[in-house]
Assembly symmetry: C2
Homo-oligomer: 597 residues x 2
Amino acid sequence: MLNEFCKKPLWEVSRTLADVAMGRKPAELVIKGATLVNVCTKELLKNVDVAVAEGRIAMVGDCAHCVGDGTTVVEAKGKYLAPAFMDGHIHIESSMLTASEYAKAVLAHGTCAVFIDPHEICNVLGFDGVRYMLEDAARTPLKTILTTPSCVPAVPGFEDTGASVGPEDVAETMKWKECAGLGEMMNFPGILSSDERTHAIVGETLKAGKIVTGHYSVPETGSGLNAYIASGVRCCHESTREEDALAKMRLGMYAMFREGSAWHDLKEVGKAVTNHDIDSRFACLVSDDAHPHTLKEQGHLDHIVRRAVEYGIDPVEAIQMVTINVAQCFELEHDLGSIAPSKCANMVLLDDLNSCHVTSVWIDGDLVAKDGETIAKWEAYTYPEKATHSLHLSPLELKDFEIPHAGDSVKARVIEAIGGKTSTIERFATLPVKDGKVQADAGQDVLKAFVFERHHETGKRGYGFLKGFGIKEGALAQTVSHDAHNLLVVGTNDEDMLLAANELIRVGGGMIAVKNGKILGEVPLPIAGLMSEKSLDEMVALVSNLETAWKDMGCTLPSPFMTMSIIPLACLPELRLTNRGVVDCRTFRFVSPIVED
Amino acid sequence: MLNEFCKKPLWEVSRTLADVAMGRKPAELVIKGATLVNVCTKELLKNVDVAVAEGRIAMVGDCAHCVGDGTTVVEAKGKYLAPAFMDGHIHIESSMLTASEYAKAVLAHGTCAVFIDPHEICNVLGFDGVRYMLEDAARTPLKTILTTPSCVPAVPGFEDTGASVGPEDVAETMKWKECAGLGEMMNFPGILSSDERTHAIVGETLKAGKIVTGHYSVPETGSGLNAYIASGVRCCHESTREEDALAKMRLGMYAMFREGSAWHDLKEVGKAVTNHDIDSRFACLVSDDAHPHTLKEQGHLDHIVRRAVEYGIDPVEAIQMVTINVAQCFELEHDLGSIAPSKCANMVLLDDLNSCHVTSVWIDGDLVAKDGETIAKWEAYTYPEKATHSLHLSPLELKDFEIPHAGDSVKARVIEAIGGKTSTIERFATLPVKDGKVQADAGQDVLKAFVFERHHETGKRGYGFLKGFGIKEGALAQTVSHDAHNLLVVGTNDEDMLLAANELIRVGGGMIAVKNGKILGEVPLPIAGLMSEKSLDEMVALVSNLETAWKDMGCTLPSPFMTMSIIPLACLPELRLTNRGVVDCRTFRFVSPIVED
């Protein structure tokens, strides 16, 4: 694949690089005397210099002759010099930050490139939203590489989204210079069943010579996994068991070991490498989702490398998994992923190998971060009105939260959420009916829940009942509600639900907790209802405050907004609630929340 | 890079592959119960089945459900199933065989793909010759992948060739579906000196997103090697020392360990892997040049893998070096180089791992060779007249071999060839002058030598004196004379030289030995003066006969036709003879063969 991810293409600067290596021109930057983390040969090599010009590496070795007037010389004795890190699969939207603020956060931790799948913003704003994100990202030094969202909507026919993606859209985006391939192909049932349109989406990517990234989330390593890989999917970050990751690598699929904010798979899947004497070139480390507090308190890939080392993976091997292996997965190794002549000068200095403590970060030869702070500056991007006014929903009224029913009580179908898990359980409960309206029942921990379509003012809404949150009194609402990101409102009483919903409509989306007519916590997310232009520190404070509010309301779930956010995701078992109603995801049928015996 | 090297593109057959893996359609071929040589994870995995459809692998694992009516089932219990082998750098012309006959020879040894650099035929016939070779090759199952000749002529200004290659030619061929990159960039001095045209030739390859193959033949691992790699050259087969190969891999260059007919580098350079605990993903095994007797008696990559194992390289690692590593070098690993779902079904069955004894070979799912015999059939290709009448030279006369000089004797500059080495030594000798003509002197082992331009009837010719062949009486001639492939004639007397030269002119080129007016041995090479349409067995017999003739004439050199063939190659030290005269390759100046004190 032609590389668009460097400061300058190699063919424009090759003569200069030769001049520098040969000592005819001075390098712009020389890093001296480091211990090189050589990811090509998996070695530590002492006392190595690196010379850089035009954003690329001209020489690795003794570079004394490359130093001249104007050369910046960095003494690195006693430090480790490694390629800067690359995350093979992430969703910026999970950080709730803009692409810029996300870049600012991760650059300081040694990340030089992220392969993004912006399917959240794409569900809301279509490819306009994707372009906004790319334009924002392009101002930063972070190489923000697109994998085109493949499954928008996630579950066609069961929800209303702001956009949909077909093979022709994929074909078009494959021409974009920022695009390296296709985003996670979550519709593995479509692949396995040889669905024509799903295969066409993959096919348009293959025709462009680009990479299809995967999402095979079932613990199965036989026919299904083979069919999935045979169809052209090259990597997958969804392994949760040692044997799944091992099977994928053995089948020539890049197994991306995930250590995100919500899903901590690395400890288990890392055993695929530590328990087996294998060539690990098909292993990568990825974050998938990183929330503000993770980025703030733990870091990004530096944190994941630390975890990998803690779990017994050799440090140099772990660094291969965030550098050269990622580059080879995307067939970009000719430009990215190693410290070698001709490659982009993306490098980190580490104080210590095991702790992976990053002290300096260069991208394309420019120092972008130092001592944990991003020092690169760039002009702010203003998201257009389409992005900042994406909640197309008029203020609601009390009657919007009424569930009429005759009699004194009713048998209801209830969705029970489980803390820290993605699945739900189908339950049944008898709920009181008052004045002809079904009531929530905090005593049984059953809340009323509504999803309001918010993209095209269709007025479509679904309702149901939720269990497992532990809320005694009040309401929660959020527009981060995968993948359609309609407005989800749950609560014990209609008044608090109304307030929560209308406040989010007022601010353009976000997450909120309300009790007795009072807003206890609120995270406004005015960009597509998913992200904020606020800084990482501000977002950490807001989210932390919201979490406290939830706890105060009696919520017992860990990261409750995560559990909330996937209540509408109609591809996960057992029951889900979308803006069209309750879906039984075992049979893919709508079911009634009220059970008439 | 988009792959043009499979029977069908993946996007056309992905639904069928999914159908087969899921058991909805029967596979065309199932290989059962083999021990899989898994080059992805560097493991041996017992009792593995592989299912194939549409030329590609649908499933690896338990494939019982993929067998149906019409499925060919191969029982492979007790055998090893490995990806078929790929040679990352070869010149078909060295085999003296056509592309078809070459394919027939190597398929039986498990080779499925060769990355050819047809710079010999290109020097003679330009890109017409390259196309002839590709058209011939395209009828065979051998994936004959082009790397465009980069250095035609090899040494501009010092010889006359049939063609020349510039950046615009390279740009044009990069569009060819058979092309994966640029052939060996032998002009490393041009790269190191930042020569604009040389960098442009590399640049056109990089612009096309393709691979630049290298030739860095000096034992230097500092500035020069760095400058060379920094300029975009991705691999090199010219290492002769352990430290050279190691340095290249450490610098992210694919080190191609060579074990050819003429050059046996593997024993030494293999130590880069066996003496160092390194990740060997950047190591490949290549042949570069294989003569008929090597192909006949030893094999191809199977032979080189055997040697590698003998030199201490782990057998699975050695097989990685002729499969997945080669595929990754050319960024074709998404389709080639491993036995994994979606990949082309290029596979070999081996009786035994250490001896690498190939018993069956499949390419794109078709059985092409069995028990050492190529069983695939294809229609013969007829090389056009331009190829078979490439010796544009009228019959010579005795006076063409006269070197006039006054007096009784003359001091001559003599080129001494050294058996088994590429270099020559400058010597001086006093030669007799008879009837005003300088004479050869077999007593001093000094022969007269002539190179006649034979491409454009320019009449340009060079003469000189040769030492080291040991010929007592007679003449040798050949049109295999790198890289311009002009007509080289050497001998003790003019009559034999005349006969040798005119016989080659009559048959359209080749190699010949003449003594006392009698042809003792002759290998006609009527295709471009380089190759024959004869079979491998016939060529082995002819070459063997010629070698016997040489020996009978007193020649003491091993493989004397190799030593002969590089006498005109004006990029190797010290002295060379081209059709323009004697070149001192230390100073790149013409020097006189007659030394006037």
